[in-house]
Amino acid sequence: MAKILASSKDAMAHVKSGMTLMVGGFGVCGLPENLVHALAETNVKDITLISNNGSVDNWGNGKLIANKQIVKLFASYIGENSELAEQFISGQIDVELVPQGTLAERIRAGGAGIPAFFTPTGFGTKVAEGKEARNINGKDCILEEALLADVSFVKAHKADKLGNLVFNKTAQNFNPLMATAGKITIVEVEEIVENGELDPDEIHLPSIYVNYIVKGEQYDRRIEKRTYSSATS
């Protein structure tokens, strides 16, 4: 059962140099910012980071990258971060670009005990290099291996004290998948409620995948692209 931690800083006792870390989020949306920023305050280094994006300069994953705490990154998209681009071009960070659906499925497979799977995505492209290819029922596919992490950082909207989770809108994204694929899963939430307050039908992720919960200390409510319409249009 999940334990409630007093602070994001306390959660860092579980993260050691050289570990593989998953961080939820799509860009800055649904990124477990308190946990990531607490990690940026530590001396932990040589982290292999699995996250959909490199995040933005000096915020979220961008802080870990700027601190040179990351040696290898698995991501589907690494735009919007000039420091990451610089480290990538100069060879200071190893980046494996993974198609977004393949990334999600590799993580899902990891959490579900499926060591590998065949997918048509990426066949005949750079992504297929070095991977087994097979034609299955007329469809050209490549073999993709599951991803697992020593530690997963997850952001949810609400948790009950057992660790059952509810996500908010598109901040869900990779978070529930990564929660299943971490040997240790640490979840930061905006609100912790009593057991029984969440309707069993509304729970997105059952507590069985969650090891630690922490109430996030501060939320920046950051938006990458502020797009809006005027009231008159």
């Binding site: 799509f26 860009g27 800055v28 949306c29 649904g30 959909n52 991501a75 589907s76 998209y77 690494i78 735009g79 681009a85 990538f88 670009l97 198609p99 977004q100 659906g101 393949t102 990334l103 999600a104 499925e105 993580i107 899902r108 997918t119 048509p120 995505t121 990426g122 066949f123 005949g124 492209t125 750079k126 992504v127 050209d140 909207h157 996500f167 908010n168 809108k169 598109t170 901040a171 869900q172 994204n173 990779f174 978070n175 529930p176 998948l177 997105h204 409510r221 950051r222 938006i223 990458e224 692209k225 502020r226 797009t227 809006y228 319409s229 005027s230 009231a231």
Partner: protein
């Protein structure tokens, strides 16, 4: 052509590929503009790869929500009937062929339907995001692109020179110059855009291209 940018015209023409009841994924760039040209009375549900079916219009400034964005990371809204889900579910829809059409941008397309749109070695490496899954999963991949580069070189090629996003997956190309279908015999020109003759399009195309008997001139 007056008053409307080339990109808007491509988006307007792309919108004609929609059919009532379609679930559609719109890529970043020109395809996103298609949302502005969905014909009145047509019910279309837009899929956003980050975990939303039923993308609504941009919200009012006061309603912008950091937890509610599209794949381009822009703040958006929902509509009655919208639904959220995780990234694996989103790509099950995409890879599983449940999305009726996928519109996306391209840097290059070849005559056999290969597409390159995610990197320029040594210059631009941003990543493929969901594009490789979209082209692998959809039976109806339609590309929106400028026909030529800024220095006038054709981007509709015999073979792509850039790293591929997918092989033999593009069904149709809508460029600023014309509409082309990808067939087993190469490209077939179906329409030209306003201001371009059939010869203009053929001459600007490096790929093998034949002209449909029913090719229409200046349709958009």
């Amino acid at each position: 052509m007056t008053g409307v940018s080339k990109k808007e015209r491509i988006a307007q023409r792309l919108a004609k590929e929609l059919q009532d009841g379609y679930y559609v994924n719109l890529g970043i760039g020109i395809p996103t503009l298609v949302a502005n040209y969905i014909p009145d009375g047509m019910d279309i549900v837009l899929q956003s790869e980050n975990g939303l079916l039923g993308i609504g219009p941009y919200p009012l400034e006061k309603d912008m929500d950091p937890d509610l964005i599209n794949a381009g990371k822009e703040t958006i809204s929902t509509l009655p009937g919208s639904v959220f889900f995780n990234s694996a579910e989103s790509f099950a829809m995409i890879r599983g062929g449940h999305v009726d059409a996928s519109f996306l941008g391209a840097m290059e397309v070849s005559e056999n339907g290969d597409i390159a749109n995610y990197m320029i070695p040594g210059k631009m490496v941003k990543g493929m995001g969901g594009a490789m899954d979209l082209v692998a999963g959809s039976e109806n991949v339609i590309v929106a692109m400028m026909h030529t580069s800024r220095d006038g070189k054709s981007k509709v090629l015999k073979e792509c020179s850039l790293p591929l996003t997918g092989l033999k997956c593009v069904k149709k190309i809508v460029s600023d110059m014309g509409v082309m279908e990808v067939t087993p015999n190469g490209l077939v020109l179906l329409e030209t855009a306003e201001g371009f003759t059939i010869d203009d399009v053929v001459n600007a195309t490096e790929a093998k291209i034949t002209v449909s008997e029913n090719c229409l001139v200046g349709t958009y």
